[in-house]
Structure formats: C-alpha cells, structure tokens
Amino acid sequence: MKNRFFFGITLVGLSSIILSSCSSVPQAEIDTTKEAIEQAKAAGAEVYVHENFIALQDSMDHVMINVESEKTKLFKNYTAVKEQLANVALYAVEVKNLSEVRKEELNVEIQKTITEVKGLIESNRNLILEAPKGKEGTTALIAIKGEIDAIEISLNDATTQLASGDYIATLDKTKAIKEKASAINTELSEVIAKYNKGKKS
C-alpha cells in the first residue's frame, strides 16, 4: 500500500517535470520567420524601407527574447511566441512588399526622367541642326555638342546603374542629368536667338 502511494507521488512528480519540459521551442516557426526576414532583406528592404526593416528586426529580437524567456519557466508555453512569430512573418512579407512597391515607384520615376532626358537630348540635337552653319555659330555649338555627348554618356552610365538595382543613386543621377540637359536646352536656344538677333541687325 505504502509502495503504491510513493510510486504514485513519484509518477505525478515525474509527469509534471516531463510535461513541463515537453512543450518544445517552435524551431520551424522561427526558421520560417527568419527566412521571411531574409527575403525582405533580399528585396532591398534595408535600403528602400529602412525604418520598417529596423522595426522588423526589432520585433524578431523581441520574439527571440520571449522564446528564451519561456525556456526559463517551469511550465513552458510557446503558444504566445508562436503567435508573435506568425505576426513577425506576416510583417516581413509586408515589409518585403513595401520595398518592392518603393522600388517600383523609383523605377517608374527613373524611367520617366530617362525618357524626359532622351527627349531633351533629341531636342538639343535638333536645335544644333537648326542652328546657323556660319563659323561663329558652329564654334559655339561645337562646345555645346560636346556637353550633349557627355550627358549622353552619363545617361548610359545611369542605365547601367539601374540594371544593377541601385534605384536611389540612379534617380539622383538621372535628375542631375535632366537638370544639365535642360540648362543646355536653354543655353542653346539663347545662343541661337542671340545669333539670329545679331544676323538681323
């Protein structure tokens, strides 16, 4: 009778210990979430949605602390952690999508600027063709033609840069090129106007 009683107590004790240790770390969920974060990073989230990406990393760090915290408890329960991991994974997908959207927005802006610059270059080249062929006109235009050539080279550089996926730097470059191309357009129109004015007088 006594032995049965002790056996019973030991069984209950052991069961409690086993049960409390049984709840295992949700490693699969952790791996899935980490993978989702890596995908967001690969999508350029660190660069294009910097603040969101930091928040994502921060959330993951907090969840990992909660995982370890559960390990210290006698009766472990990872239900809340699993829920947090699922939320972080969802947020990682959202951050990835935000990054893709931002990249697309930049890409559209870059393409638009490139089209505008190409238009300006064409317009500048046409202005050169329309310009007077006299030596005085030609001299001024040779210099401007050189500048247009330099702009075209820079535009090609920007296209190469875009292909490498560096959207922010490419946008800055194309904006700078557009500014210069516009300035040349104005300068060219002024030179031609000045020449025509001189010719009339």
Binding site: F5, D61, T72, E136, T139, A150, A176
Partner: protein
C-alpha cells in the same frame, strides 16, 4: 513507526519541492535587460551607427549576440544549474556601448553634415571660379567633357546630401574635387606659361603708347585676357570695348587655320567699309609682318609646324561681335556700334598692338586668388 517514516519522507519531499520552487522563482532572468539592449540596438540602427560609429555599434551587436547565446546555453542546462550573471553582464555592456554608439553617431553625423555642407559650397565655388578664370579658355575636348561630368556629379551630390546619404555624397565630392583639381592645375600651368611672354607684351604696349604720345596719334591695344580693345589718343586711354577672338586665342598665331589671334605689333593697312567685308566694317592689319614671317620660317625649320603649313593672312578687327563667345578664325570682333566708333576715329596706319595681357598675372584679380 511506518506512519512516522511516511510523514518524515513527505515533509522532506515537501521541503525539497519548496526549495526547488524558491530557487526557480528567486532566479532573476535577463528578459528586461535584453529587451532594453535590443531596443537600443534598434535605435542605433535607426541612427545609422553602423556607418558613423562602426566600432561601438559592432561591439554592441556582439555583446547582444553573445548575451543571447549565453542565455540559450544556460537555458539548455538543468534548471538548478543555470546562472545568468554573464548574460546580465553582456546585456549591460551592449546597453552601454549602444548608448555610446548612438551618442557618437549623432555627433559624427552632425559634424559630417556640416563638413559636407561646407565642402559642397567649396565645390560650387571652385566650379564658378574655374568658369570665371578659364571659361573663355580654349578647353580640350576631354577637359570640357570632364567639366560637364563634374557639374553633373556636383548636382548629384547635392541630391545625395539632401537624401542624408552622406557617405556617398562625400565619395562623389572626392571624385569631383580630384577631377576639378586636375583640370584647374592644367590650365593654371598653361596660363603661367603663357605669361612668360609678359615682359615682351609690356615692352610692345609701352612702345605703342609712347608712339601715340610722341606723334599725337591714335593707337589700338588689344588685351586678349581682358577681352578688351583699348583706344589711345596722344598716349592716353580714351575708351575700351569688349572683343571676341579666335577659338584658340591663347598664344601667338603659328599658321593658317589654327584659329589663333596673332600677337605682336601691327598697323591698320586698310579700312573696309560696309560691303567690303562679311563682318559689317573692318580694319585689315598687316599680319603677317616681317617678324611673323621669320618666326613662321623658323617654326617650319624646327618642325614645330608642318612643312606644308601656310602662314595665313586677312587678320581683321571687324564687326558682328557681341556673341559672347570666341568664334573667329583669328580676327578680333567687336559689336557693330563699337566698330563704328573706332572706324570713325582711327585712320589707316594706326598702330595696333595685340598682347596676351597689358597687366602682369599677379595684378589680375581673378587669377591672383
């Protein structure tokens, strides 16, 4: 007896369980410290400490990672053997270094921002100075393209600065600075070499002015650098006009087609009325004079110019100027109204001296800085 033993055992088990529970709940776990360390690390990332306070930030990250690893390690042990002292220590170190990194990063970023603002202003100033000094110099095609690239990159760096991308902005400014200095040095040296002839220019100018004084006559002094035609009467300057020159105006004319305006002492050979010249009205000068011919011959002999080169002629002071650029084949162009003025007062035979500059290089304010 059995009951007594049973009670004793029961009490002992109870005490043991109580001790275990006390031990478990008395162990302070490092969650809050690690949470704090994690939050500060996030703040450090937000403040771009990885760029501006790299060492402190990396240290902080390492402390945090080590704390997590140590915590994991301790948690893997049997619960009665767990010790979190090292985890606490590492967490505190991470917090401390994160704070240092954030503080340093803020300061460095502010200093860097200020430095770049100044640097950008300096680069803009440098480009403007280059254009002021050498804007009308006959630039080499490569240099012209390089200058356009510099301007583009400067504008780009303005944008990267506005986007708070200071590291990239600094790299861009480094490239602009280097390229600009290279071009600036090239033309500064060229200018200095050009001014080696200054004593001769000075002599010729003085000669011409004193001739005007002695003979109570008019004289024309062409200052290429200043882009000025000066009219002297009885040795006194009475007027000055803006001129335009040949595309490659630096230096003396060497041969036909080099688009250089000759330098030396000449005189007006012929006054061309409207219809006698393509360029409104003109003074034909006596280029090439005897000195030009000798120099041309010597240059041919020493191979400075091709053996089949021609010396050129028909150098004029004419109208149709005012275009704001150097465009002639070597002539001197004035606005028609200015041409009218000098045409009315200067007779055939008027002395014309064409020099690089009537002032020494150190007296020219735009070059003396």
């Amino acid at each position: 007896m059995r009951t007594k033993h049973f009670l004793l055992l029961f009490m002992l088990t109870g005490i043991l369980l109580l001790l275990v529970l006390i031990k478990i709940y008395s162990i302070k776990t490092p969650e809050s410290e690690l949470m704090r360390a994690g939050t500060l690390l996030s703040q450090a990332r937000y403040e771009k400490c990885s760029e501006y306070a790299t060492i402190a930030f990396e240290k902080s990250e390492n402390y945090y990672d080590s704390a997590m690893i140590e915590w994991k390690y301790q948690n893997a042990k049997f619960f009665l053997l767990r010790k979190y002292d090292k985890v606490f220590e590492l967490s505190f170190k991470s917090i401390e270094t994160s704070n240092i990194a954030i503080e340093n990063s803020k300061n460095i970023k502010a200093d860097f921002e200020q430095y770049l603002r100044k640097r950008l202003a300096q680069i803009h100033f440098k480009i403007n100075e280059f254009e002021k000094k050498f804007g009308n110099f006959p630039l080499l095609q490569d240099h012209r393209e390089e200058l356009v690239k510099c301007k583009l990159l400067t504008f780009e760096s303005d944008l990267t600065y506005k986007n708070n991308n200071y590291q990239l902005c600094n790299q861009q400014l480094d490239s602009v600075d280097l390229a600009l200095d290279k071009i600036l040095d090239y033309y500064t040296i060229k200018l200095n070499i050009y001014f080696h002839d200054y004593p001769q220019w000075q002599r010729l100018t003085e000669q011409t002015i004193s001739h005007s004084r002695r003979n109570n006559s008019y004289a024309i002094v062409i200052d290429k650098i200043a882009r000025e035609l000066l009219i002297y009467k009885n040795g006194n300057e009475i007027n000055s006009y803006t001129i335009e020159l040949g595309l490659n105006w630096i230096g003396d004319k060497k041969h036909q087609g080099d688009k250089t305006t000759p330098e030396g002492l000449y005189k007006v050979l012929q006054k061309k009325q409207k219809g006698e010249t393509k360029y409104y009205k003109a003074f034909l000068i006596d280029y090439p004079n005897a000195e030009d011919k000798v120099r041309f011959f010597l240059n041919k002999q020493n191979g400075t110019i091709k053996s089949d080169a021609k010396i050129g002629n028909l150098i004029e002071i004419h109208g149709n100027g005012g275009k704001g650029i150097d465009w002639t084949d070597g002539c001197i162009a004035l606005k028609d109204a200015d041409m009218d003025k000098i045409f009315n007062i200067c007779p055939v035979g008027t002395r014309v001296v064409i020099v690089g500059s009537v002032n020494a290089l150190n007296k020219l304010s735009i070059y003396s800085k």
